[in-house]
Symmetry: C3
Subunit: 368 residues, 3 copies
């Protein structure tokens, strides 16, 4: 069997498969000159991942993947699993069921980067123990987590859960879900919510709360999506309430997005599997006489970090992406994004904090 890389199978239920992805990015950013923000051309290897996954007889399994982008190592997934029917129990570092876009692989999202709130609110993989159960058209996920493997050992912890209904209706795949997140932090912890302008190859953030003391976080997400042939739509909203120590007011920040997409090539559709978007498999791939799949996406992305005496700014993003999928495991994309800021963290000429930033990026991707 082959799934981008060989799936090697042994007697009794053994399997082994290498995993990996390369995402090579370049692009440009245009911000008002008076902000002093680093702009112009930028490039990077966005993700450079290598790992393995496998099945062990008796219902056990593992997934272990590392990211080497930037010449540093980060553990992405590192889990041991046990599965029985629709039930999967996972121990180790994995995602905390934050929502549709965060849980969809970076290989399959509609734009180069996920919605602004997913980075801003600190979504990340954490070491923990979780269970999920997938039944006919339903998915329930819940777990208790510590912190990211790179930050352990400490006393931070969270409980996280998500519920998804995924009915098929007249040939269309529908998706409705909600997630809850509660995290408690060691005393003395400070948080910082911020986000880059649409592309990742810059370190400038025009929207940024700065560091503030936090005792706990309560997050709630809603998600909806639909896939009907060449068309898809998706939307999410996430409310993050932070409990600050003492008498300080507790802000509730908001982020969300809405997108629509359309394949221009005949017979192509967006993949979907177990509560997340999955791989696009072109009907007529390059190498078999075809040209692959071409998709156009439009997206509005909102992030509001100004609440309760914390003035981090708001960002309204408008994005257009063109995605070419020559074959199942190759992808090229071009993205344009326009970010409108109010109360931006970096002032422009005359102290003006309302202005726009343009960003353009291209990506080449292979995965296996």
């Amino acid at each position: 069997r082959w799934k981008g890389a060989p799936v090697i199978e042994g007697e009794g239920g053994w399997s082994f498969k290498p995993r990996g992805r390369l995402q090579i990015d370049a692009g440009t950013i245009a911000a008002p000159a008076a902000t002093g923000a680093e702009d112009g051309f930028g490039s990077e290897i966005r993700r450079a991942r290598l790992g393995v996954e496998g099945d062990i007889p008796g219902g056990f399994g593992y997934k272990f993947e590392l990211d080497f982008a930037g010449g540093e190592v980060e553990i992405a997934d590192a889990i041991a699993t046990y599965g029985d029917g629709g039930l999967t129990v996972s121990a180790g570092q994995h995602n905390t069921f934050q929502g549709l876009e965060e849980l969809t692989s970076s290989r399959f999202i509609s734009t180069m980067e996920r919605a602004a709130f997913t980075d801003a609110f600190g979504f990340e993989r954490r070491v923990g123990l979780s269970a999920q159960y997938a039944a006919d058209g339903w998915l329930v996920q819940a777990g208790v987590f510590g912190d990211n493997a790179d930050d352990l050992s400490n006393r931070n912890w969270s409980v996280d859960g998500r519920l998804v209904a995924m009915p098929e209706l007249g040939g269309a795949q529908l998706h409705l879900g909600g997630s809850l997140h509660y995290a408690e932090y060691e005393s003395g912890t400070t948080l910082r919510y911020r986000q880059r302008p649409f592309v990742h190859f810059t370190d400038t953030r025009f929207i940024d709360t700065g560091r503030f003391a936090a005792g706990s976080e309560l997050g709630m997400g809603l998600e909806a999506a639909a896939i009907a042939g060449p068309f898809h739509a998706a939307a999410e909203g996430f409310w993050q309430k932070v409990d600050r120590p003492g008498a300080l007011a507790d802000p509730t920040f908001f982020g969300g997005y809405a997108e629509v997409g359309l394949f221009l090539t005949r017979g192509d559709t967006r993949g979907y599997k177990r509560g997340v978007f999955d791989r696009v498999k072109p009907a007529s791939p390059v190498g078999e006489g075809g040209f692959g799949a071409i998709q156009v996406n439009l997206r509005y992305d909102r992030l509001d970090l100004s609440e309760a005496a914390i003035v981090g700014g708001t960002q309204d993003g408008y994005a257009l992406s063109l995605v070419w999928t020559p074959t199942d495991h190759t992808r090229l994309m071009a993205n344009y994004g326009r970010m409108e800021y109010r109360g931006a963290a970096i002032p422009a000429a005359g102290g003006e904090r309302s202005y726009g930033v343009d960003a353009f990026g291209v990506r080449a991707q292979i995965d296996f």
Copy 2:
């Protein structure tokens, strides 16, 4: 063939096999509050290893394994080998024949961590050249080493050797061995012998010599073990003498342990191979109608770091471990340890340096 992962074989003697292990730990530590020691809940990914091993026609081979725990990379083994009959010559980073427990894989030891002296005395893999010869019931190992690959290039070096008799007697596997270690350090070198309280997810050390100047180290170890059906016993002692510059007295520190273990499940026994403990292969694994292997271990672990004007403290550890091995390549364990300190490095209430610390830990493990 399959050994946790596929063993891919080619004509003429070629082979290739991926290697890896994940160990996910959590637990809690209780120390006297007056020590100010960080205690309570802790968690970490203890080991996250990935690598390869293989055979090259002509008697050559290699083993290359990396550890990514904590989001940093360390080279574990990185050796090129040549073998002919019972002889194996190894060049590169590998273990320096320090003794039974240090040489037994962390996947197969009886408690979550090895005996206190193995960390305290700085046992680690080093870059060097070694030869070992295994004959009928005998094993000889010797090598010359520089330093750990991460610390090179420098002028530290050591010679290390080990001799093991491993007779079978009336169905029982016996093990008797001794090791010698001599290291010389660059002038200006300081050493520090210390150890965590039984579990690894804390950075507190109640026993600690502090840094002291050292010119050379002379270590001597004795080891004995026996496996008889479901029962095993093992004991080691290690004497580490440090030559300090000038007229300073030269301390000889001691560490050692004794343990007994028993499988509660019928037909199970501890693996043993070439002078070290090996994998447990449950007689009735999960997935084949069985429940795997259940083993109980009791251990006494002593470390004495108070000698010749260096007062690092003594630690007497009492540990109980419960090990569940559902299948050959999966393992779950729960450990309780009670550490009794005298002359501890961290004073408790009223300057008291004699007190006890409790530690509890659980681990989930897969390997291939």
Copy 3:
């Protein structure tokens, strides 16, 4: 199929192959005592690489390799490729067509280290987009590049190209080539050209320009080589002109080498493929009744870093190497080098800057 490691192939043009190499070095350096230079014994793991390469149906492919030497990670190659006939397009981190020796794999060069100028002039892999076309006896390579993946994102860029003629003439393989390199650096950039004395396990550089401000670099290389049965010869010259800001004089540094080599074992010859030296495959390898291939190489290596008010020194290196290749994928080598310095960066007794340094090194290597 097997090429050091298994080449796993799937239907439709899929392939997957692990890649790796281990190079374990030791040796000694003797410099005039008065330089105060760290000399004597040294050792290291020179390269510890692991990665993968593969083909994706439709003409796509990838190569992704990491280096873990020294306990740090560096991305070596990380490219996605598209090929059609003699054309290959590559996106990601790869070599910038700097010349024969830099492009020849470190597994196949004649001495333990490449010519002094290849390190001194900052040759490295960079993230970029390139195309190469190989026709009958011709090779053209060109690309635009940013910086090394570890240094991105920044605004440095370069264009690089190389042209090679590789005719066969009466059974001999000839090689003639030239390369051009132009790099522009962000304002405020400083460069430093320097090189170690022949071996890598020291951090001492007797030849060193120190840091100087630079706006751009223009490099030009010429290369020639011939392989005729057991004999080979190769030579390169490289001129690197640096544009310094303002009225500062613009120095042109020079480096180059010439070498000859001879196999003492019958039937052996140096491999050559697509414009670079390739693997030696012994006619009578160890394990098949033979002894492998024995080769002797002699080399002169020049580096001149004293130009236009920058006095970095000159280095004339004379080297002798003995290479034993027991089998296709194993290699042992011993090297002796004598470096003669003038205007050395480190003064000896009485401020003398002309003196010699001796270096000796051995390497054990496996690769797959």
